[in-house]
């Protein structure tokens, strides 16, 4: 008798346990059918749609000429990497090198050497902020228009020359033309200014660099 009662009680409990969620679901269904007055506030996730390639980095190489004050003009080459924060502003790191020639004094005197061979290596780097001041288009013939920008850069860095590192201010202007979506052609002019006491007294030297560069956006 006891056992039968217990069985009955247990089966009753089990039945209740099974049917309760079903009732709850029915109730929920009835609620959902009524129109929602308050929209749920779901925070939007900040993600790019998958597969959308973000290309804000730009890296490439350049070659040109640098006029090293008192040492003539030399071939200059190097690399640059930039990150575009907005359509207007970018940051750029540049590194370049050149081999300085001889001063006129060295040429005229014949044998005098102011610098050793390794001291003639002119290596500079700078970190700059750039501003795309004049966006526009470059037209080639009647059918091709390529996006372009004239930009200005202001940077600080260092130049190793004549066995010493010099604090360098790099002021530049350039033209960037996009050949296609990801290749850009640069024409760049920079003034690398630093103080040097190489020829006896301190003076601010201006070293003008003109380069042609190719970069890729990625």
């Amino acid at each position: 008798m006891d056992r039968e009662l217990r069985l009955l009680l247990l089966s009753g409990l089990a039945l209740a346990a099974f049917t309760m969620p079903a009732q709850a679901q029915q109730a929920a269904g009835a609620e959902a059918a009524t129109p929602q007055v308050v929209e749920p506030r779901v925070k939007r996730r900040d993600v790019n749609p998958p597969g959308l390639d973000t290309e804000n980095f730009e890296a490439g190489l350049f070659v040109g000429t640098v006029s090293i004050e008192d040492f003539g003009a030399s071939v200059s080459y190097g690399g640059r990497i930039a990150y575009h924060f907005t359509e207007d502003v970018f940051a750029e790191a540049t590194i370049g090198t050149a081999k300085a020639g001889r001063t006129s004094y060295e040429d005229l005197s014949g044998s005098a050497q102011l610098l050793t061979d390794s001291e003639r290596q002119f290596t500079h780097y700078d970190l700059a902020i750039g501003w795309n001041a004049l966006p526009g288009e470059v037209f080639l013939g009647g059918k091709r228009a390529m996006p372009s920008a004239v930009y200005f850069t202001l940077g600080a860095g260092s130049t190793r020359f004549a066995g010493d590192d010099h604090f360098t201010v790099a002021l530049g202007a350039g033209l960037r033309v996009l050949a296609n979506d990801w290749i850009a052609v640069h024409l760049d002019a920079r003034n690398l200014a630093f103080e040097s006491d190489l020829l006896g007294e301190d003076k601010l030297t201006h070293n003008l660099q003109f380069t042609f560069g190719l970069t890729a956006f990625f």
Binding site: P49, G51, D53, E87, P147, G163
Partner: protein, 247 residues
Amino acid sequence: MIRSLLTAVLLLGTLHTVAATAASGAGPVVVQDPYLELRSGPGRGFPVFHVVDRGASVDLLRRRTDWIKVRGSDGTEGWVHRSQLERTLTPGGEPVTLPGPSPDARTEHRWEVGLATGGLEGASVVGVQAAWAATPTLHVRADAAHLLGDYSNGWLGTVGVAHVFAPHWRVSPFVGIGGGVLYVEPKATLVQPDDRTDSTAYAGLGLRGYLTNRFLLQAEYRQFVVFTSRDDNEEIDEWTVSFVYFF
């Protein structure tokens, strides 16, 4: 030299081909604005040359800063500003989200990177800095600087914490403490030509002001105590101005 240049160019090319194949587009979206303005380049200075109407679908191809290159159903390709695509829908009817700056970014950003310049005891400073915002007011930051002086050159690397008093103000003061390593290389003509590496600690204060929802300008003064191997410690001052991007 020429060979290494060629290798670098080839490497760049390969890298990009990989990126390009991966980026065949993000699938179509349906225009919800009255129309989309397609520009010839990624910037507001480029002319609008085509318009896509509401209800049409466009493919998203690539993104550069705030501009997205799209292709219309007739094959026309152009650049559209993020703000117009924010209101497009996927074919499934979900809104498309494209991250961008908002006034909230001033207090809610996680990372800061910056370029700095200034002076340290007569030497010029060229530096980079990065900070992680643990909370809007508490930042963990790291700085590396190249020091270029008349009598010596060197490097300075520090790690520290900074407290920003009111990140929601346009201009806010901050203070910081930290430690690091100072490497000094005197120029050859001096009496003590030996290189020195010393540990150092600093306390600093400064001001930072937002330029936009992405950039801020920071001016800072730091006083360093250099723990030299000599009998007494050395105290040096540094001031810097930095241009910071936050995201």
